[in-house]
C-alpha cells in the first residue's frame, strides 16, 4: 500500500521527518519498504500484513501513528447533505452469507467531469489513475478509509433496484475492463431486476459503468464475506484494490460513514441536485469483542514486567476502550475496525509491538535440562553416517531438484507416463513431476560438469524419491544415488580409468560402515544399465538397489561420451538391516595358515560359485577366501580365465597342523576339479 506523507498529515500532526517516521512504522510492524520523494511529498511503500485490513487506508495508518506516538488523530468530517429528497432505492440481499450489509443511496443531477487537482494528486499519490470525479471520489474513500465503494449509473439499472445474489450458473457479464466473463454459481453478484451488473467486491460491469453522460448514480458501500471474495478473485484471476480489501475484511460498522463521506464529496464536486437517504440492509453491528487482559499473564508470556498503567495507555492510543478491573486486569472493548483483536494474546501482541520489541530482554530458557534422550533419531543418524561414509570415501555430495520434467523420465529413462506422480499446478515443464529416481538429476550433474571439462567425478545424492501407493496415495522414500566416471587418480603420475569395481567397492565399504553383512550382488540385467555390467543388490532376499554401467543409449540422451557407473539404493528398505551397535568378538587365539591355489576355469564360472564350493568343502575352518589375481590371455585357453585364491584356515580351539590343512587343500582341489572342471596348477 502506498501512503503519502502529506496526506497522513491531514489527519495527524507528525513532527518526524519522513525517513524517521518510516523507521518507527517499520519497528511497530508496518514495514515501510521504501520512501520516495516526489514533488514535495514522500510516498511510503508499506507492506500491510494480511491481519491488518484497517491499515489499508490512510486514516488507519494515521491511527497506527497515534498508537506509536500518542498524538491526537483528527476526526474525518463528512459534509452535511442537502436536498435529501429522493426515494430510497430498493435493495435486497438474497445471499445473506455472502453479503452481511449493503448500504446504497441514489444521487441525482450530477455532472461527471474531471476531478479537481487536489483529488487527482491524492489519487495519483497512491499509484491509481484518475478517471472522473465520481470514480475518483469512490477511490478516494477507498484509500482514505479502506472501504471500497462502487458507483453504478442508476439509469442503467433495470427496475432501479439492487439484488445481491449468487450468479446464475454460466451467467455472463462484461466487466469494466471490457472482458466478457462467465460466472459459476458460487460467485456473488450485484444484479438489477434482470442481470448481473457487477461481480460483488471484485469488479463492476461495463453496462452500468459511470460515464460522462451519467446523471444519476447508485452509491454502494457493502460488506462481503471475505472467503467468498477471495475465491471469486482467485477463480476469475482478477485482483483489484476492492477485492484485496474485501478479502481481508472491511469495517462493517464503517459502511454508513464511508457512504456519507463519498456522498457529501459527490454533492460538492459533482454538483448533485438531490440525494436519497441510504437504504441500509443486513447486519448493522458486529459482535463486539470484550477481552479481559490479565497483566500478570501478559508479563509472563513476554518475560517482562510492564506496569498496568503502561498497558492501559498503549491500548487507549489504539482507540480501544479500556477499563481497569482490579489490580491485575483490564477490560477491553474492541471497535469494529479491529476485527483482528479477538482474544487476550492479540492484545499482548499490540502492547509489545508498540512498547518496542527492542525493550524485550534476551533471556535463556531455564529449561536446559529438557534435553532428554538422544539428539537424533535413528533415521537421522543413519543418513548422517551414509553422508559421512561417502565423503570419507572421497565422494562429493550433490543436491538436485526433487521435481523434473515428464520427458526426462519417459523419453530419456523409459519410465511409463502413468507411473509418474504429477504436480497439479506445475510452474513449468521442467518441474511438473515428483522424481521417482535420483538418476536424471545426478546424470544432469555429470553432463553439466563434463561440459565444463570436469570429467573425473565421484558424486552422490541422498534425498527422497516419490511414488504412488496402489490406492493412489503419494509417498516418499529415502534414496541414495552414486555416480562415478573418468579417471581414478592414484597419484599425479599414474592415472587409470575408473571401473565398476571402484563403485562396487564404495557400496561394499558403505555397507560395512552400516553394519550390513548379508548382501548379494546378483548379476542380472536391470533397466538403464548396460546388459553386460549390471547387477541387482539384494539384502535379506529383497531387491534394494542396482549397480552397473549406464547403457550407452541413456548416456547419449545426456550427451555424455564417457562411461558412467551408477548405483541407486532404496535406503528406506535398507534401514531395517542396518546395525548401528557394534559387537565385540574375541581376537583369535591361534594362528591361521594360508594356502594359495591357482585355478583355470571357464569364463562363466563366477567368483561366488567358487567361494561357495570352497566353503562347502572345508566348512567353518575356512575364515577367508580372497581372490588376488585374475588373468586372461595367452597362457590360458580361450574362453577360460585363471584365478589365484588365497585361502586362510583357522581353528578356534587349536593350532592347525600342516597335515590337516593339506587334507582340506586336497579336498577342495577335488571338488573344484569335479564340480567346476577347474584345472589346478
Amino acid at each position: 500500500m502506498k501512503a503519502s506523507y502529506n496526506w497522513l498529515k491531514d489527519y495527524i500532526n507528525i513532527r518526524l521527518k519522513p525517513n524517521d517516521l518510516a523507521d518507527r512504522l517499520t519497528m511497530a510492524g508496518l514495514e515501510v519498504k521504501s520512501v520516495d520523494g516526489r514533488g514535495g511529498d514522500f510516498i511510503f511503500e508499506i507492506e500491510v500484513t494480511s491481519n491488518r485490513p484497517d491499515c489499508l487506508g490512510i486514516y488507519g495508518i494515521a491511527r497506527e501513528i497515534q498508537g506509536i506516538f500518542g498524538l491526537n488523530l483528527k476526526p474525518i468530517k463528512a459534509g452535511s447533505l442537502k436536498n435529501v429528497r429522493l426515494q430510497k432505492p430498493p435493495i435486497k440481499i438474497e445471499d445473506r452469507k455472502g453479503c452481511l450489509r449493503y448500504v446504497g443511496r441514489v444521487i441525482a443531477g450530477i455532472e461527471v467531469q474531471a476531478s479537481p487537482k487536489w483529488l487527482v494528486d491524492k489519487i495519483e499519490s497512491a499509484g491509481l489513475r484518475p478517471v472522473n470525479n465520481i470514480v475518483d471520489i469512490t477511490n478516494f474513500c477507498l484509500l482514505e478509509l479502506g472501504q471500497p465503494l462502487h458507483a453504478f449509473d442508476y439509469d442503467r439499472l433495470a427496475g432501479g433496484e439492487i439484488i445481491v445474489r449468487k450468479a446464475r450458473q454460466g451467467e455472463e457479464i462484461v466487466t469494466i475492463d471490457g472482458i466478457k466473463r462467465r460466472l459459476d454459481g458460487s460467485v456473488l453478484v450485484i444484479a438489477d431486476a434482470e442481470k448481473a451488473v457487477a461481480i460483488a467486491g471484485v469488479m463492476g460491469g461495463k453496462d452500468a459503468e459511470v460515464t460522462s453522460s451519467t446523471k444519476r448514480v447508485l452509491l454502494e458501500s457493502a460488506y462481503f464475506d471475505p472467503p467468498r471474495i477471495r475465491r471469486a478473485s482467485k477463480g476469475l484471476g482478477i485482483s483489484t484494490e476492492s477485492s484485496y480489501r474485501f478479502e481481508r475484511g472491511v469495517d462493517l460498522e464503517g459502511l454508513l460513514s464511508a457512504s456519507n463521506r463519498a456522498a457529501s464529496l459527490i454533492c460538492d464536486l459533482a454538483k448533485a441536485k438531490a440525494i436519497s437517504q441510504p437504504t441500509d440492509v443486513g447486519i448493522k453491528k458486529t459482535k463486539k469483542a470484550e477481552i479481559n487482559l490479565r497483566i500478570s499473564k501478559a508479563n509472563k508470556i513476554l518475560g517482562m514486567d510492564i506496569a498496568i498503567s503502561k498497558y492501559a495507555a498503549i491500548l487507549k492510543r489504539l482507540d480501544l476502550k479500556v477499563k481497569q478491573k482490579g489490580k491485575d486486569s483490564l477490560e477491553i472493548a474492541v471497535p469494529s475496525f479491529r476485527g483482528d483483536l479477538k482474544e487476550e494474546i492479540d492484545l499482548i501482541e499490540e502492547i509489545v509491538r508498540l512498547y518496542g520489541y527492542d525493550k524485550v530482554p534476551e533471556t535463556l530458557t531455564k529449561i536446559t535440562i529438557w534435553g532428554k534422550g538422544r539428539q537424533k533419531s535413528d533415521d537421522k543418524i543413519i543418513e548422517d553416517l551414509i553422508r559421512q561414509g561417502l565423503v570419507e570415501l572421497g565422494l562429493n555430495e550433490v543436491i538436485t531438484y526433487g521435481l523434473g520434467s515428464v520427458d526426462s523420465y519417459t523419453k530419456k529413462l523409459n519410465f511409463n507416463d502413468d507411473q509418474l506422480l504429477k504436480v497439479k499446478n506445475p510452474l513449468s515443464s521442467e518441474a511438473e513431476i515428483l522424481r521417482p529416481s535420483l538418476l536424471p538429476g545426478i546424470l544432469g550433474v555429470v553432463a553439466y560438469n563434463m561440459n565444463r571439462k570436469i570429467t573425473d567425478l565421484r558424486i552422490f545424492e541422498l534425498g527422497n524419491s516419490y511414488f504412488c501407493k496402489e490406492k493412489g496415495t503419494p509417498y516418499e522414500r529415502s534414496t541414495l544415488a552414486i555416480a562415478l566416471c573418468g579417471m581414478r587418480a592414484k597419484d599425479w603420475q599414474k592415472k587409470e580409468e575408473i571401473d565398476i569395481f571402484d563403485l562396487k567397492g564404495i557400496v561394499e565399504a558403505l555397507f560395512k560402515k552400516l553394519g550390513i553383512s548379508k548382501y548379494e550382488f546378483v548379476t542380472k540385467p536391470a533397466p538403464l544399465l548396460a546388459s553386460s555390467v549390471s547387477s541387482i543388490i539384494r539384502i535379506g532376499g529383497k531387491d534394494i538397489g542396482v549397480l552397473g554401467k549406464l547403457d550407452r543409449v541413456i548416456l547419449d540422451g545426456y550427451d555424455i561420451k564417457d562411461s558412467v557407473f551408477i548405483s541407486e539404493l532404496d535406503i528406506k528398505s535398507i534401514m531395517p538391516h542396518i546395525k548401528l551397535e557394534c559387537t565385540f568378538r574375541k581376537l583369535p587365539k591361534f594362528p591361521s595358515i594360508i594356502r594359495d591355489i591357482s585355478l583355470i576355469v571357464d569364463e562363466k564360472v563366477s567368483n561366488s560359485e567358487i567361494a561357495t564350493l570352497i566353503k562347502e568343502a572345508c566348512g567353518d575352518l575356512v575364515v577367508s577366501i580372497k581372490p588376488f589375481d585374475l588373468y586372461r590371455g595367452e597362457q590360458v585357453p580361450k574362453g577360460s580365465k585363471s584365478i589365484l585364491y588365497s585361502i586362510e584356515y583357522r581353528a578356534p580351539d587349536k593350532t592347525l597342523t600342516d597335515e590337516e590343512v593339506n587334507d582340506f587343500d586336497r579336498k577342495l582341489r577335488t571338488v573344484l576339479t569335479e564340480r567346476l572342471h577347474a584345472k589346478i596348477r
Binding site: 472467503p227 518475560g303 533471556t363 533419531s377 515428483l434 570436469i454 516418499e476
Partner: protein, 337 residues
C-alpha cells in the same frame, strides 16, 4: 711412502665425512678401494720398495684399507638413518599423492552448523515428510482455506489433499500430536514453493524450524535463544533486532534482522542501503496451533522460529546466486568442507 699413506688417510677421513649421500659415498668407495683405486695403486708401489721396508708399509696399507672401510661403513649407516631416499634426488616441491577428499553439500553443511548450535542448547533434531496434507501444512497451523494468509505460502499440489510441503512447520504439528511438553526441537528439511527460478528464487529450498514448548516459555527466551544463534553463527560483532510481523501460526510474531555482515550496518548494496538483513521469522506459538494439537494454552507456552537455509548460506559465504547450490559444479562444491 709412509707419509703418503698418512696424507691419504687424512684425505679419506675428510672426504668421507663430507659425503652427503650414498651415491657420493659409493664414488668414494671406488676412488679408494676400487680395483684401480688409490689403495690398489699404493699396493702396486710396495713392489718397488726395498725389501726391508715392504712388510711395514704393507701392514700400514692394510690398516689404512681397514680404516677406510670402517669410515665408509659408519658414514653409510649415518646417511641411511638420515634419509632412506637419499639414494635419489627428491624434489619435495612436487605435489603429494592426495587420497580423494569428498565434501558434503554446502546446504547440508549449513544445516548441520545451524542445528549444532541449537543442539548445544539442548534441542533435538526431528524430521518429517515432504509429501504433506492440507491439514498439516495449513489448517492445523491456523491457516484456513480461502484466507489471505495463504498468499505467504504458495504451494505445489499433488492430488486430493496431498501437496509438497511449503514450509517445515507441519513437523511441529506431527511432533506435538505424538509428544507431550516440555521439549525443544529443531527441524531441518526440504520445502517446495512454485517460484520461478532466478538468482534469488528457487522452487525447492531448505528450512530449519525450531519449536520450544513448556511452562513459562517467554518471548524474552525466544530473543535470548536467537541471540545465541546469531552470535555463534555470524560472529560476536553482529547485532540482532526483532521487528514486529505477522505469521498465522505465531503471536506475537517477529522478523529477525541482523546488522549487515558486509557493511556492518552502514548500508551497502547487499542490505539495500538499510544496514539490516532479514534472516528469519519467529514468534510465540499461536493458540490456534496449540488447540489443533489439543494442548491447553493456559498451561503451556511456546516459541517457534524458521529460517531459509539457502539465504543463511548465501549471506554467510557471500553467494549471490541461489542456482549455484543446485547446479553442483564441482569447482563450487569443493570450496566447502
Amino acid at each position: 711412502m709412509l707419509d703418503r699413506i698418512k696424507s691419504v688417510e687424512a684425505e679419506a677421513q675428510n672426504e668421507i665425512s663430507k659425503a652427503s649421500d650414498l651415491r657420493a659415498l659409493d664414488n668414494l668407495r671406488i676412488r679408494y678401494l676400487g680395483r684401480r683405486g688409490l689403495i690398489a695403486e699404493l699396493f702396486k708401489q710396495v713392489a718397488n720398495l726395498p725389501n726391508e721396508a715392504r712388510p711395514k708399509t704393507g701392514s700400514e696399507l692394510n690398516s689404512l684399507k681397514g680404516k677406510i672401510e670402517g669410515l665408509l661403513k659408519t658414514r653409510q649407516v649415518a646417511l641411511s638413518k638420515g634419509s632412506i631416499l637419499s639414494e635419489e634426488v627428491v624434489d619435495l616441491t612436487l605435489p603429494g599423492f592426495k587420497p580423494p577428499i569428498g565434501t558434503r553439500h554446502p546446504i547440508i553443511n549449513t544445516i548441520d552448523k545451524i542445528c549444532e548450535i541449537f543442539l548445544g542448547m539442548g534441542f533435538k533434531i526431528v524430521e518429517g515428510p515432504e509429501v504433506e496434507t492440507e491439514f498439516y501444512n495449513f489448517e492445523a497451523l491456523n491457516i484456513p482455506l480461502d484466507h489471505p494468509s495463504r498468499d505467504m505460502f504458495d504451494t505445489f499440489y499433488i492430488k486430493g489433499e496431498y501437496l509438497l510441503r511449503s514450509h517445515t512447520s507441519p513437523v511441529q504439528i506431527r511432533f506435538m500430536e505424538e509428544e507431550k511438553p516440555p521439549f525443544k526441537i529443531v527441524v531441518p528439511g526440504k520445502v517446495y514453493r512454485p517460484d520461478a527460478v532466478d538468482a534469488s528464487h528457487s522452487f525447492m529450498f531448505h528450512q530449519v524450524e525450531g519449536l520450544v514448548v513448556g511452562k513459562d516459555v517467554t518471548f524474552a527466551d525466544l530473543k535470548g535463544a536467537l541471540k545465541v544463534f546469531v552470535k555463534e553463527y555470524f560472529g560476536e560483532k553482529v547485532r540482532m533486532r526483532f521487528r514486529p510481523h505477522y505469521f498465522p501460526f505465531t503471536e506475537p510474531s517477529a522478523e529477525v534482522d541482523i546488522s549487515c555482515i558486509i557493511c556492518g550496518g552502514s548500508g551497502c548494496s547487499v542490505c539495500g542501503r538499510k544496514g539490516w538483513l532479514e534472516i528469519l521469522g519467529c514468534g510465540m506459538v499461536h493458540l490456534g496451533v496449540f488447540r489443533a494439537v489439543k494442548y491447553n494454552p493456559e498451561e503451556i507456552t511456546g516459541y517457534a522460529f524458521g529460517m531459509g537455509v539457502e539465504r543463511i548460506a548465501m549471506l554467510k559465504y557471500g553467494i549471490s546466486d541461489i542456482r549455484l547450490f543446485f547446479e553442483n559444479d564441482m569447482r563450487f562444491l569443493e570450496q566447502f568442507k
